[in-house]
């Protein structure tokens, strides 16, 4: 249990006052539905860019990735470099011009403009369910953590954090969520910075870390790892057995680097919404590129301390008792908590805990604000109360619907959090299932943007079939050693078959291949059926939505650092350099 002093609490309270203050200041600007749900499309590129990366830096990500650092070592950086940067560059240069230029207010609405109502409806409903689930799971984790680490009451932690998020998103809508994400970004970076500094000092820098890890890594039970396995990225990915990730280079490159990451970064509205809020098309294109710069360096902040913890926990087992190492159920997710407790004196400890709280809130507020927009525009306005001729009256109506949805969204999240507490496995399972929609969704949006022949019927069937194939694959295969149906094999079990179609060495490999099959199915069916069905949309209607039908406007930018291609090259070169340095 962590012990906090008055100064730690003072820091926490001041932070919350600023968070609420930002909402309060923005309140007077929330006069239209567009201001509330789309941030009035007025964000400077750097603000939206930091929010873009901050939304992704939720607490479950921070805790999970530090834990992964301990579990998989430097191989965890694949999620930050190959598994993020190419997709972010692609989103910026090739997709943002259409997302932003189409004037769509959400990803589902883009599907409506490019394809048809049913494709939008399918995506909107799945997305709405997914965001509430994600938000509920993250709130449950927050309350559980506050309870076990700080001794706060579970219910009080849950409701108090929900009310704070509700207050600032209700007051200032998406703008408030975005501005607060920028504030959260800085507090997460600064609050966690002492960990990596102190950890590297104690182990004697990167060289010392390698030296200390060698004897531990080479003597790991049941494995034959080379001494530098945990401090390299690609070196031991020639086969599955040589690295702790359990995936070979092809799976990392294609499964993670292409299907999973393009599915996540290029179609997840939670992320794309930040770029859509930018003040201009030029700014929207820059948003993912600006976000990519800090993204590449986050591993040093959260993964490297996790790697150091491998050695630290071997020499100070008492300080890392909270991780339950050496038992059947280690809690790697608590690595960052153990490190906070191990290194930070009173004062900085308050800042570190505030950073964690901030990251929980940024994830929650992100989900609530994205849910809000999709519900109000893509479900309510499309199916329940369509727009009328009275524009001003409509706007007022949708603004109040947006505000009420914020409250309902938070209440639904709280309900989901309690369900997660009772049926945690089912919630994780549902989240895995809903995440499976990303890969086929990317296939459908990509084909829609770059091939004008793609039809609405084909896209709908492709999306649905991709999702069903993902379910089928997950239900017929299991990761090695799995003893629960929530990790796969549930169809096998239901049908009473005696064995699964395939047993993957690790869960991650199973996830990669689920995504690959879903993606391939969606591509083949969408392409095939597009030839078989008639295009319902005229070329004129597809202008601004499809690459070949959109007139290219040459915009001259004076400053070299404002040119998207130059920024993209810089980002790409840094990523490749980092990959080579830590090869």
């Amino acid at each position: 249990m962590l012990h906090l002093e008055w100064i730690d609490y003072a820091i926490m309270v001041i932070y919350f006052l600023f968070v609420l203050g930002i909402g309060w200041v923005l309140k007077k600007h929330m006069k239209t539905a567009g201001a509330f749900l789309e941030a009035g499309r007025s964000m400077p590129a750097w603000v939206a860019g930091l929010a873009f990366i901050s939304t992704n830096l939720g607490a479950l990500e921070v805790m999970g990735m530090t834990g992964s650092g301990m579990k998989y070592g430097m191989l965890t950086t694949h999620f930050y470099w190959i598994g993020a940067i190419p997709a972010m560059i692609f989103l910026a240069l090739f997709m943002m011009p259409f997302y932003y230029g189409s004037k769509a207010r959400s990803v589902p609405e883009f599907l409506k403009l490019r394809y048809d109502e049913k494709t939008r409806g399918l995506n909107a409903i799945l997305f709405a369910v997914m965001t509430i689930l994600a938000s509920g799971i993250s709130m449950y984790a927050l309350a559980l953590l506050m309870n076990s680490v700080l001794g706060w009451d579970f219910n009080v932690s849950l409701w108090a954090s929900a009310i704070i998020v509700l207050a600032y998103t209700y007051l200032g809508g998406l703008s408030s969520a975005i501005y607060n994400e920028v504030l959260q970004f800085f507090i997460i970076v600064i609050g966690l910075l002492p960990l990596v500094i102190l950890a590297l000092m104690e182990v004697g820098g990167w060289g010392g870390l390698k030296e200390h890890l060698a004897p531990i890594v080479t003597t790991m039970k049941d494995h034959h790892y080379a001494a530098d396995t945990f401090t390299t990225t690609w070196k031991y990915t020639g086969n599955m057995q040589g690295n702790p990730l359990g995936v070979e280079w092809f799976g990392i490159l294609f499964g993670l680097g292409f299907v999973m990451s393009f599915g996540y970064w290029c179609t997840n509205f939670l992320i794309v919404q930040r770029a859509m809020s930018a003040e201009s098309k030029a700014a929207a294109i820059k948003v993912p590129l600006i976000g990519a710069l800090p993204k590449m360096f986050i591993p040093f902040l959260i993964i490297v301390p996790g790697i150091a913890a491998i050695w630290l926990s071997s020499i100070h087992p008492d300080a890392f008792k909270i991780l339950n190492l050496g038992t059947g159920h280690p809690r790697y997710d608590y690595t960052i908590i153990a490190l906070l407790q191990y290194y930070l004196p009173t004062g900085l400890l308050g800042l570190g805990i505030t950073a964690l709280l901030a990251s929980f809130m940024s994830g929650m507020a992100g989900n609530v604000s994205a849910f809000n927009t999709v519900w109000t525009y893509d479900i309510y306005q499309s199916y329940i109360r369509p727009a009328t001729k009275d524009k001003a009256g409509d706007d007022k109506h949708y603004l109040s619907v947006g505000k009420i949805t914020t409250i309902v969204g938070v209440l639904l999240s709280i309900a989901a959090a309690y369900i997660a507490g009772k049926f945690g496995n089912i919630m994780d399972f549902l989240q895995t299932i809903f995440a499976m929609i990303n890969a086929p969704l990317f296939a459908v949006i990509f084909l829609g943007m770059f091939w004008k022949r793609t039809t609405g019927h084909a896209a709908f069937i492709g999306l649905l079939a991709g999702f069903l194939v993902a379910l089928l694959h997950h239900g017929l295969t299991i990761p090695f050693g799995s003893d629960t149906m929530f990790k796969g094999g549930w169809i096998t079990n239901m049908l009473g078959m005696d064995k699964n179609l395939y047993v993957y060495p690790v869960e991650m490999a199973q996830n990669f291949w689920t995504a690959i099959f879903a993606f391939a199915t969606a591509v083949f069916l969408t392409v095939g059926l597009s030839f078989a069905t008639k295009q319902q949309k005229s070329d004129e209607e597809l202008k601004g939505l499809v690459y070949s039908l959109t007139p290219r406007v040459k915009v001259h930018v004076d400053e070299w650092y404002n040119r998207p291609v130059v920024l993209a090259i810089i980002v790409g070169v840094i990523m490749i350099s980092l990959s080579i340095i830590f090869w």
């Binding site: 932070y15 600007h29 007025s42 600064i190 002492p194 102190l198 000092m201 004196p345 009173t346």
Partner: protein, 69 residues
Amino acid sequence: MGLDIRIPIGLMFSIFGVMITLFGIFTNSSVDMYKKSLGINMNLWMGIGMLVFGLFMLLLVKLAKKDEK
């Protein structure tokens, strides 16, 4: 939209900076407290760092306002 986010960032980190720096100065003699952070008074150093960062943000705001005029 009506808010320069650098102002709250600058203000908050300046306040944190002053608080943590002062706390670091007052607790400087407490050897026990800083045993954790390898004998370094991390409060003092991080406090100064935050103060500098906060003031830098506020300076940027000031320069931007000057530009506008």
